[in-house]
Symmetry: C2
Subunit: 671 residues, 2 copies
Amino acid sequence: MNVWELSQKGYHPQKAEENGNRFFTGNGFVGVRGTLDEYKKEHFVAWNLAGIYDRFGDNAWREPVNAPNGFFAELLGAGEIVRHVQRLDLYGAMQSRETEYTHALLRIERFASQHNPHLLCQKITVTPKTTVTLRCGIDGDVWDLNGPHLFEYHCGERDGALFVECTTGEQGVPITVYETVSLPHDALETTQTGAFHVYRISQETTLERHITVKAPPVWGSYAESLEQHKSAWASLWKESAVELEGDEQAQLYLNDSLYHLHCIAPRSVQTGQSIPARGLSGQTYKGAIFWDTEVFLLPFFAYTEPALARKLVQYRIDTLPGALQKAKEYGYEGAFYAWESQEGGREGCTDFNVTDVFTGRPVRTYFRDKQIHISGDIVYALYHYARITGDTSVLSGRGAEVVREVARFYRSRAYRKIDDATLEWTDVIGPDEYHDRVDNNAFTNRLAAFSMQKARELETDSTVASESISVRQPLVRDGAIEQFQGYFQHEDASLAQVKSRLKHPKEYWGTQSGVAFPTQIIKQADVIAMLQLFADEFTDEQVLRNWEYYEPRTEHGSSLSACMYALTACRIGKLEEAYALFLKSAGADVLCDGKAWAGNVYIGGTHPAAAAGAWQIAVFGFAGLTVREGKLTAAPHLPASIHRVRFPIQFQGKKYRVSVSAAGASIIERE
Amino acid sequence: MNVWELSQKGYHPQKAEENGNRFFTGNGFVGVRGTLDEYKKEHFVAWNLAGIYDRFGDNAWREPVNAPNGFFAELLGAGEIVRHVQRLDLYGAMQSRETEYTHALLRIERFASQHNPHLLCQKITVTPKTTVTLRCGIDGDVWDLNGPHLFEYHCGERDGALFVECTTGEQGVPITVYETVSLPHDALETTQTGAFHVYRISQETTLERHITVKAPPVWGSYAESLEQHKSAWASLWKESAVELEGDEQAQLYLNDSLYHLHCIAPRSVQTGQSIPARGLSGQTYKGAIFWDTEVFLLPFFAYTEPALARKLVQYRIDTLPGALQKAKEYGYEGAFYAWESQEGGREGCTDFNVTDVFTGRPVRTYFRDKQIHISGDIVYALYHYARITGDTSVLSGRGAEVVREVARFYRSRAYRKIDDATLEWTDVIGPDEYHDRVDNNAFTNRLAAFSMQKARELETDSTVASESISVRQPLVRDGAIEQFQGYFQHEDASLAQVKSRLKHPKEYWGTQSGVAFPTQIIKQADVIAMLQLFADEFTDEQVLRNWEYYEPRTEHGSSLSACMYALTACRIGKLEEAYALFLKSAGADVLCDGKAWAGNVYIGGTHPAAAAGAWQIAVFGFAGLTVREGKLTAAPHLPASIHRVRFPIQFQGKKYRVSVSAAGASIIERE
């Protein structure tokens, strides 16, 4: 088994959606879905651009822009497909395909340069048995969920480069894609939205194409560009690869997870960008940044690439004005961060985020207005980042302002009873979105209290600092912490029962008329997420009781769920349960078996939080890495199939190599 | 036009549901649906009993019990129906039918004695052309929405009386129906649930039947029983009939409204009973008492039959323990009255009150837990009753306890922000049920403030009395009072637009996925109801602005709506609008065009609140009756078709006759 390669045999256009995610590649600026070169928009092709958003019309969702596809290539006159294989080299971040037609062999490899984020390269080799036609170029007829976003197309050839230029509708952002190619063409074809070269090929021919996005054309050497790309990836792996000795499947899945994280990290920008919940795999979730980044992704980068982690944190510091604005709109003080954050902290989430499959009508959801834990997640991330990296600068200046403003927000959002100083946060949504508009969600209350506590410690705000905080504590029954007020009174139906009540395969489980809503079945880790984030505050016994209560009641309908359950499972010795959840989390974008639809809304794409969660399970779970009294420690919690876990790490400015086996753990400083 | 009679020609079994309401009769203990004598349960026959409830199984709704139908009578061998007419004499409260078959003429009249509430009488006259068979008796195979409720049947003849005896399932309440009849029968037939006499008839024959429910058999004279019944009704009309000179249709509708109110008033019981929202017309709404009684029905009785009004008020005083218990269950102090109150104040409302027509699944509704204005409505009614009747005894002793406990409830249900003493009531439902779980509904906040204010005035509770109350005030925009926080931000779609979005004729407009929920379309008067209840606090200009804002946005999907809009319309001179709404309200159970279904749940039946609302429109609206500085005044607000309004009234222990025409108003004391 090659633990660094994914491959698939057979030509399956009907798998275009899932393969687009499985063979995805990217470089932090452009995300390229792993669709085949000859595919068009009906097969979910996308060159998804980081940080460029557009809204079409008044009612459609605002979403990131897909650029014209510079990898378009089709072979004509080659006959039937006899054999086909598609591969993804995870180590070199190279996607390739080999297709044998009755009259020709077609080999293509392509990559999104990790060295130059505006550059994407493709090498096409055609070995014909007869004369065939290759048509390749830039296809600007792009796939959109809520488009069109591109207008004013100009397509053609200029100064020896093929080009498609256009601009976005809302803000007039120019998007130009250039292509230079190593061989002269036989014909030029342009359409309203595309430009293509045509080659008549009767002997083995190789074309090397350099494609640039939002940058001038490049006339480079493919070999040299590839070398730079590979070298950049090798550096990334040196600082992050985790070895799972003894288990090739787990190793492959984890390699794939880290591959995806590296593909989408915003390395090329100074600031102003973070990582969307579906990476750069398309327009799902409006290309927005969710709490996924702070709670699930941040630890990976903080421990392996602190400068990148700082960018993620900085994005939230920089977008404080957007959060202040949002709070104001809702009549609150302080900082209420966007649930789905677009550029500048702009809220991308709408009031109607689900479509009823029975009526076709949009349903009022409350993710935007009630999921207030997002602000606390960000404060938590600031402290978490500082603790891991030692970079406490994020806790002063504008970072401290974030903490203070978030605390101010929770303060203004809190209610009290007349005779009781205890603070309550009512009408919220916790991580488990199937139960919306609940009171005193334990997770949310804990994050709110944490934020207010940290603001007091900063003593930057005298009002906040002078108050003692008493926060409504959850009911505990037989050791289980009640997820929100009244949760235990919900019907205690089994997951199978709840599933059996579904009347439509795509129906949404939440909202007032959804199957999960009146029951105790939850979408994802909620209390368990709190136990993991505030691990020091809870005993093993508490974790055990809650794990055993909540796990059977969890659908794991979110890719954020498995990681939290696996991490807590490691702590309480449920190693094989942890291992199964690890495979689920790490394998998310190998197996591609997640939900692609919520109601009639497309929610497919890659799962960065599950990927980063897999890293957390390997490192904090299996290897037991933790910070105790300011120092790193590790201890084995290895499932049977994994003999040893080894990985590089950075902690408070120093580099370490960690190795954990049943025999024990070592943490050794390295260069 | 006979303004005291409803009639319908033609034999229409398919109209059984609506005719059951249209030709309804009753005497406060038994309500008899106006179905034909030969109908069985599939035609919605019911002898609905006041104050006796039963629950079948663990999941079905608790509802009032339908007794065996003592009016069952069918004519066999009479051939085809040639002619048929059904009549209801409103003045004499006598239902009759005349059916000409090819071989016989059948005439039946029947009444539920207003003199003896356990007695119902029926006179059957058969005029045959050949020998026919009459089969009549007691049909115990009853119609139930959530049954069965009757068990352990015994059916037969005993001491010369036909009987069906059975007991309810939940509490084992014995239900026995006896029949005595004026002629000897030819045969006795008994089934598992019924007992019948069979007569072979070859010449004109009249049977007079005395039927008793939960009382021993009566061997009486039909003529005498009828005389006693008519005499009792004449007394009722003397004290309540309202003349609308010049408009026979309006007169007929209003007579019908008052007829229905008299049919369902609990005159025969000392205490412990009130009037259910659908009267005694069946099991809809669980036979429960809603705020309808306090806000819509009470004024009619307080002004025309104070002793009956006192019973209605007393019911709420007596059921305080149930309200204390309900508050406790929800973690509040004080008195949280049942939204759907059954015997002893027991809550009949469930957590799932609507069925989704698309999935067939019950939908979580919040009428039970969030419609907290019910407690304030009751306090309002206590004061309203005392002001009209002069009987202030309800404001001391146990009545005062009600006020204090309701105030205590609102106090414990209120929230405050940290820096603000203003009280807020969040997560409530106002009268407009299409928008559930709203914050600071203006109507609810006003009733809560009223209750707390009255408790302070009583000074029975030092905690409450010593506090000053500051309550969150609604936003006012261009004179329109915002129904609840954020309402003005809802989509301002027209009623026609909202209707056009319906995908199923029976779908419910409310809840998260309903068509009205995200819009400003409301079910019924909400702000307008507040303006009417607290009329003295608002100027004509304020009423005008709000009427013009809300009326076009109101579906009038509840029979409680038209009355409030009509009353306020009279005040601001919109007399023809008021007249149209009067006809809608007064005609509810003549036209029978209201909604009979909410989702898949049957909600048909009569509309006492609309009936009493019609009386309010005639008396407070058209005749402008009001109390000013402790005295009655009147002033004409007559629509064009009505020249004069005349009615008897009682006020603070004295009797008056009021007459209002365009020329002016007179209020003259009478005996």
